[in-house]
Symmetry: C2
Subunit: 318 residues, 2 copies
């Protein structure tokens, strides 16, 4: 079983409106509400590829209850610690005329120390049944920046490797706690390195590889940088790797990075060598970007992309 | 106890955003979620003036559960029949820069015949404890246009008078079922009459009075037309009446009509004569329009406006 930690889940509500009146009354032609937040995307992808998962998170209020019941309907097992605050909503309005989307992200609840303690007790017990844990997404208000670091250490004590997908201080402190894999995207890696790693043509592969090696030296056992249509670049105990999707896929990047994290965790649990691990992760990310609904993918796309991904060892070492 | 029927409640979510990016990501500075729908506004106003109320409605899904729990927190007793569909949300975005609001109204659930039957059984039982019922707001999909008419007839059988605040066919059929009071606003009365009742300067009082008498002749025991800042105009068994607020109140009309309906129902139950009934209804509507939050009011405003309302018998009979 793969444990997926989701401390700041969301209910994602989307309204499609034929032609939005931004100063008047609108009647959406379609309304969608689905559980969101990076961790839940990871869990849904893992579930879709047949992995056993357990979502572990914090949920509060009627929105939290909504997230729980929606996950249940999707067949994703979850154990939420109830909190006093109200789980956040995100609200997207898609304007059929312009094609623009406006997104409104609620700040989410503040989590109390006692609530995180209750979560930790549950998490520690659940670790006994986990082959790996994925720690993904933003930390809610009230939790210390070293929260992921502490959860990674608890995993290490129980012999459970961790995949970390976070940003800023939470990623920096988490990486120092020696997770099996850290998965920053380009912007997150640039923020950590404190310098640009790209040109106007996209990611500068040599610069990204250097920063990935530095993040690895800072504690992560492996670093996989996700570069969108430019694929993945990894610094691992087995050297540097590059994995490229077959062609630039026009699509919806939302959730593609989460699908990559899911693929990496799955490969870790299966003991796949790095080339296969990266191949599957790229294929999942690409299939997710190609899907019309954010965070979903077509299994046929996944399979067809899989054979077309090119993976090779990084040649230019510095 | 006053029963308030709310067949299509809502969860009203409001996001305040300093300067909205209608094609990007926004982080609201304030988020409000409160139970909405005209019936719930009526019930909250009745509760605020000390009347005993029972909300009777239909609620489904996690949004329905959210409406129920929010009403509980507000101290408004409610008995909801659970439905399979999901209770609707309304979503308002208030742009701090322009002052504009965009409103997104979900269509709401479709109600099954079996679900309305379950509601009717509950409603019929509850009538035994009601001194009056208020039937307010739109009918959800799936319910026949004569739904309010049937509920009014069930009330009459139990000796419970009804106040009807609806529009279109639901109002027309409902009025024919002889409710104690029908409360259309100007637009609703114009739609029923099939002709304009206003000039560019506002409502044409003589024309409104004539239409109100016609609606009364069509079955309603009394008709009270709410004309916003122009007050109320009533056709009753005790003749025609006009009630005017002290001065044009600039404010938020949302919920003011519901406060008027609450005031009329309260006056009906207390047996107030028409002049006092209308005086209180105008004061509640005016205080609600003056409040910064839609559908709420300051008791001090209510009291101070009460003495300043002018009520007189309609002089021009035709």
């Amino acid at each position: 079983m793969i444990g997926v930690v989701c401390l700041n889940p969301a209910l994602d509500i989307t309204h499609h409106v034929a032609a939005v009146d931004w100063a008047g009354v609108n009647r959406p032609s379609a309304v969608y509400a689905r559980p969101g937040g990076k961790g839940l995307n990871v869990a849904r992808t893992l579930r879709a590829i047949g992995a056993e998962v357990l979502v572990m998170g914090l949920a509060g209020g009627v929105t939290g209850a909504g997230v729980e019941s929606a996950l249940g309907e999707l067949g994703v097992p979850a154990a939420f610690t109830r909190i006093r605050g109200e789980t956040r909503r995100t609200f997207a309005v898609v304007d059929g005329r312009s094609g623009d989307s406006a997104l409104f992200n609620e700040p989410g609840p503040r989590v109390g120390v006692d609530e995180f303690t209750a979560f930790s007790v549950m998490y520690e017990k659940a670790l006994g049944g986990c082959a790996a844990v994925v720690l993904s997404g933003s930390l809610p208000l009230g939790l210390a920046a070293d929260t992921y670091a502490r959860l990674i250490e608890m995993g290490a004590t129980a012999g459970v490797p961790a995949v970390l997908d976070a940003q800023g201080e939470a990623m920096a402190l988490g990486a120092a706690a020696r997770p099996a894999i850290v998965k920053p995207n380009l912007a997150e890696l640039e923020a950590w390195a404190g310098r640009r790693l790209s040109t106007e043509r996209g990611a500068d592969r040599a610069a990204v590889a250097a920063a990935a090696r530095e993040l690895r030296a800072a504690g992560a056992q492996a670093v996989v940088a996700s570069l969108g249509a430019q694929g993945l670049l990894a610094a691992t105990e087995d050297g540097g790797w590059q994995a490229m999707p077959p062609a630039a896929v026009a699509g919806n990047a939302t959730g593609a990075g989460d699908a990559v994290a899911a693929g990496l965790a799955h490969g870790l649990v299966l003991g796949r060598p790095w080339d296969e691990r990266l191949r599957h992760a790229v294929a999942l990310g690409t299939a997710t970007a190609a899907a019309p609904v954010a965070g979903e993918f077509s299994p046929a796309d996944y399979t067809s992309v899989l054979d077309a991904v090119t993976v090779h060892r990084e040649e230019a070492r510095r």
